[in-house]
Amino acid sequence: MNEEQVMSKVVEIVRPFVKNMDAMATITAKTSILDELKVNSARLVDIVLAFEDEFDIEVEDEAADRVATIGDATELVLAKID
């Protein structure tokens, strides 16, 4: 799975938690999940658990804490599936 494919899946996983749908139209790797997409911080855990299920990986708490942008999430997944 290449970076583009992973990012596309990451965006689909994040989508149900997004409150600012306008920001989805211009989403990039630099888009902040909390500040721009307005995802509730408590729901970040759901997103990380969804990554685990979708990509069959295990994410440590410390690694999950570093996820701030779509790019961070994509990198995290890529590092785990490599």
């Binding site: 509730n40 911080s41 408590a42 970040l44 855990v45 658990l49 708490d61 999950a64 804490d65």
Partner: protein, 224 residues
């Protein structure tokens, strides 16, 4: 400070708690029933819910004999640490500020401190919804999983779910309207997550949310 807070609640704001003596007796019985740590998880509608819950669960005399019955709190830093006098109140009121939506690492430090306090027999109060409920009704799906994480991590921890609501409270407010009577309901639950880690935390947090929803449904059923 606490007697002053009680005077303000009762005589300046004119609040009352329905069947206060019976409510406190039930809280005492539930707390006595637990031999280990107790995490208090109330619903959240106003900025002073922690004061109201504290008023409901323990009498001033009980606090004189054991200050551990005065629960630790986690007020939102942005709301309660704006002025020196609010900071002072929070300091004497056993508060550990937390920043909602802030860095998860910083939040985990606060949660770890709360876990440490629980292990030492202190009462800890956390609003599992994170903030005041937007709709005025408990949303079981909006629970903060950190609460579940603490409950799962601290050995023997029980959760005292508290549903408190003023008769005129429709949705979230800063203060409840004056001269209001509050109803209080309790349910003591034991975390029994089948999973560990974040999944276990989510399971326990959802259990807390479902219990609060049940208490809320009972509250409105009684009113009808």
């Amino acid at each position: 400070m606490w007697p002053l807070a009680l005077l303000w609640l009762r005589h300046v704001r004119g609040y009352r708690i329905r069947r206060l003596a019976a409510v406190r007796a039930q809280a005492r019985a539930l707390l006595r029933q637990t031999q280990g740590p107790v995490l208090i998880c109330p619903n959240h509608l106003t900025w002073i819910d922690s004061l109201l819950v504290q008023w409901a669960i323990s009498s001033p005399w009980q606090l004189l004999t054991g200050f551990r019955f005065f629960a630790w709190n986690t007020p939102e830093q942005a709301n309660f640490y704006r002025s020196v006098w609010l900071k002072g109140l929070c300091y004497v009121g056993k508060c550990l500020p937390i920043r909602r939506g802030g860095e998860r690492r910083a939040q985990r430090v606060v949660l770890a401190k709360l876990g440490w306090l629980l292990e030492r027999g202190e009462l800890v109060m956390i609003f599992p919804e994170g903030g005041r409920t937007v709709t005025g009704r408990v949303d079981a799906d909006s629970m903060s999983y950190g609460v579940g994480g603490i409950a799962n991590t601290v050995e023997g921890c029980r959760i005292l779910c508290v549903y408190l609501r003023g008769e005129k409270q429709v949705e979230k407010t800063v203060l409840p309207v004056r001269d209001q009577v509050f109803s209080v309901r309790f349910a003591l639950i034991t975390p029994d997550a089948n999973e560990t880690g974040l999944r276990g935390a989510r399971e326990t947090a959802r259990g807390i949310g479902q219990t609060l929803v049940r208490l809320e449904n009972d509250h409105f059923a009684d009113r009808q």
